[in-house]
Symmetry: C2
């Protein structure tokens, strides 16, 4: 017998969010060498990131090291690194530190970043919520605002510290506004001597005429009513025109003058765009970038002219191809990213076997959004038509669904324990700001 070196196909996966992780797992039994490269050392369960920002959960409850998750999959190598660009001709990814990672098949799952629609100067005043660092920064700003208010003698300045403005009425904005109202009205009362935290104002600014515009009208209106019951002021039909160190200006439909809101804490939930790597990939591959910095993909999730490159998740502008219907845009939600991850991996394995690839089909099982304690909306797809409900039952459904999808058993137990104690005590366990005072 003569030993011969057989080179197995090299699959490179850039990014280990929901899409990248699912793709890596889909190669579990495949005869390929998989390399996963990510800018951070952890997979993040983003749907619960707002709970880290609002001090209800600790970071490790919703984040686990990528290499730990994939440790038993022998054909996977996990690397920490940031991909700067793709050398499409040489088939390699170039890292910011100069290293090159060659590939035969590439899956780009670099996700989305907070977008200020060209107003990048707003970023310093209104952090978004995409990374753990974002969550820590929001947690710091929220908790420090109450601390500053406690020490502030001037009533106007104190009121500004106690005014919280959330921009954007999508799921992130709704969750943040609801949780901020709960912090002010349920967690902090009784702990201050010079302010009444329950008098804090929480405003949710939304351009449309209701929150959760992607959900059916009735559920969006229910969510709005539930927010109001928590004490959130809904500022609908309103667009932000300025954000600076002292507050925000909003233009309300039907009013000629913009309104000015004095605040020291603004949270941005109004928009995301594809990660910058998407633009570089599109340029290298000679295709035009789609709206929102997304990369348009073929029905099988590959890039036009480059069957060896797939783009998935929030970075992809993909269409769902169900038999007998018109292609529909795939939404930027985690179940879609996971389904794309599996589909891209399966198509790569088909290519390796010289089989035809299959068009991607998104299966929508429904949408959930939570507003606060005992408060959520659920819109489930079923063969018998949509199932929609809201309130406490929806909240319980949301709660167990999120625990179910958490990455491992330990995190499930930890989050369940944290939520149970938070429910009974109305306290928030993670009210810790690591930094000392800044001056």
């Amino acid at each position: 017998m003569t030993a011969t070196t057989v080179t197995r196909p090299r699959v490179l996966i850039v990014g280990c969010g929901f899409g990248g992780l699912e793709a890596a797992k889909a190669f579990r039994r495949a005869d390929v060498d998989v390399t996963v490269v990510d800018r951070t050392n952890h997979h993040l369960f983003q749907p619960l990131l707002y709970q880290v920002a609002s001090a209800a959960l600790t970071a490790p409850a919703i984040a686990a090291p990528v290499r730990h998750i994939l440790r038993k999959q022998a054909n996977v190598t996990t690397l920490l690194g940031e991909v700067k660009t793709i050398d499409v001709a040489a088939r390699q990814a170039l890292l910011v530190d100069g290293a090159a990672l060659p590939y035969d098949h590439l899956i780009v799952a670099a996700g989305a970043v907070t977008s200020y629609f060209g107003r990048d100067e707003w970023a310093q005043h209104a952090p978004g919520l995409k990374t753990l660092q974002d969550a820590f920064e929001i947690r710091r700003r929220v908790l420090m605002a109450f601390e500053h208010a406690e020490r502030e003698a001037d009533p106007d300045a104190r009121a500004a510290w106690l005014t919280f403005v959330v921009i954007g009425g999508g799921p992130t904005g709704v969750e943040m506004a609801g949780t901020l109202a709960e912090i002010a009205k349920r967690t902090l009362p009784g702990e201050f001597r010079h302010i009444r935290p329950e008098e804090a104002r929480v405003l949710l600014v939304e351009g449309g005429d209701r929150v959760l515009g992607m959900m059916p009208a009735k559920l969006g209106e229910s969510a709005g009513a539930q927010l109001r019951a928590l004490g959130v002021e809904l500022q609908l039909n309103s667009r932000v025109t300025a954000i600076d160190a002292t507050g925000v200006a909003i233009s309300v439909a039907g009013e000629s003058e913009p309104r000015r809101i004095a605040t020291q804490c603004v949270i941005w939930g109004a928009g995301v765009a594809g990660a910058p790597l998407g633009a570089k990939l599109a340029q290298a591959a000679g295709i035009a970038l789609a709206r929102g910095g997304r990369v348009p993909v073929e029905p099988d999730l590959s890039v036009a002219g480059h069957p060896e490159i797939s783009v998935i998740g929030d970075l992809a502008q993909a269409m769902s191809h169900a038999p007998g219907t018109e292609p529909q845009p795939v939404p930027g939600v985690s179940p879609a990213a996971k389904q794309m991850g599996r589909a891209a991996a399966t198509n790569i394995l088909r290519r390796i076997r010289a089989e035809a690839t299959q068009p991607f089909r998104y299966r929508d099982y429904g949408t959930l959004a939570t507003i606060g304690r005992n408060s959520a909306v659920v819109d489930l797809a079923s063969p018998l038509g949509p199932i929609r409900f809201s309130g406490k039952l929806a909240w319980l459904f949301w709660l167990f669904a999120h625990i179910y999808f958490l990455i491992d058993f330990r995190a499930k137990a930890v989050v369940l324990f944290d939520w149970a104690t938070a429910y009974w005590t109305e306290q928030r366990y993670a009210r810790v700001v690591a930094e000392a005072t800044r001056d």
Copy 2:
């Protein structure tokens, strides 16, 4: 009936570590107005800080908001702020942001900071372990070292990434060295493809001829043997002469040339000094600062010439006054800080009642140090003489003692759960680095 305004004595407590918190609680039933001011928003259970640094515990498990702990004590106001100096003549503390906090009685419990004995340029290469930020920085450096090693092709550079040097064989150094060896040999194996984490070297550099010099020789030797069993290399009779970006130089007793150790991760456990506020207070009060930046105090813990000012905890150079024996120096440990907090508060109440103050007496109940899983040393004081033991029983004793002293029931439950799962799985739950790659 005519309402008259009675001004209650104002007690200001600077710092909310073990000493400051215990002092605040000691005024629970007293007719005084207490203000607690701290640079951070949390009380930190420092004895377990190394477990945050080593990814075994999350920060909120060992830190709780000061204002939450003291919320039910109506005579306490908690403020976030950093005291810059004390205006002894005007009886007020001046904050870095310009505010002034007046007092009738002052307790300074500002604690200690990492000290490099005049070699402050070492700080950037060898973080100490006094704050949550320190712990996160050490966690980041340790976990990133393995990530860099995995991507490093050059064997020498790779070996440097896999070499960890802990400076100082006191409790902090022993705990860090033991826990680093466990991370390398038990937590990480099987998760990398290009390195074997279990081949990492952990060196503990100590100037004396054994570790835990403050404990009886037999226990120190036992701790050394337990460290060796974990795979730690003890570098005794050795002093650090240089630390830079590529490694450390150590001078070993009996050797003419210093040895050079190539490493990318150095942890400083060799020394602390009183917080800088101590020097400013000493200057303002017209007294000389003691060794290690500590403020010498009278037998009743007040500052000479200023009976209205007490200094407690790690910032104080205090003596214990037991009847019939010579005064003994009080060690810089948390039970001593707590006892001083109670004593200073009691003496202030005596002064308010125009009674004589009492000299401080430190009651030493013993010393514990842990080395790793199933591995610790215990030295208890008892009326029948010292009780000393080591190994698994000592470790269980250490474990339950630390859970017992944790600040609240929730933290006790969380830490117990975290330790139980860590014990069975040998995993570390908090292996999350919030930051993306740095370049």
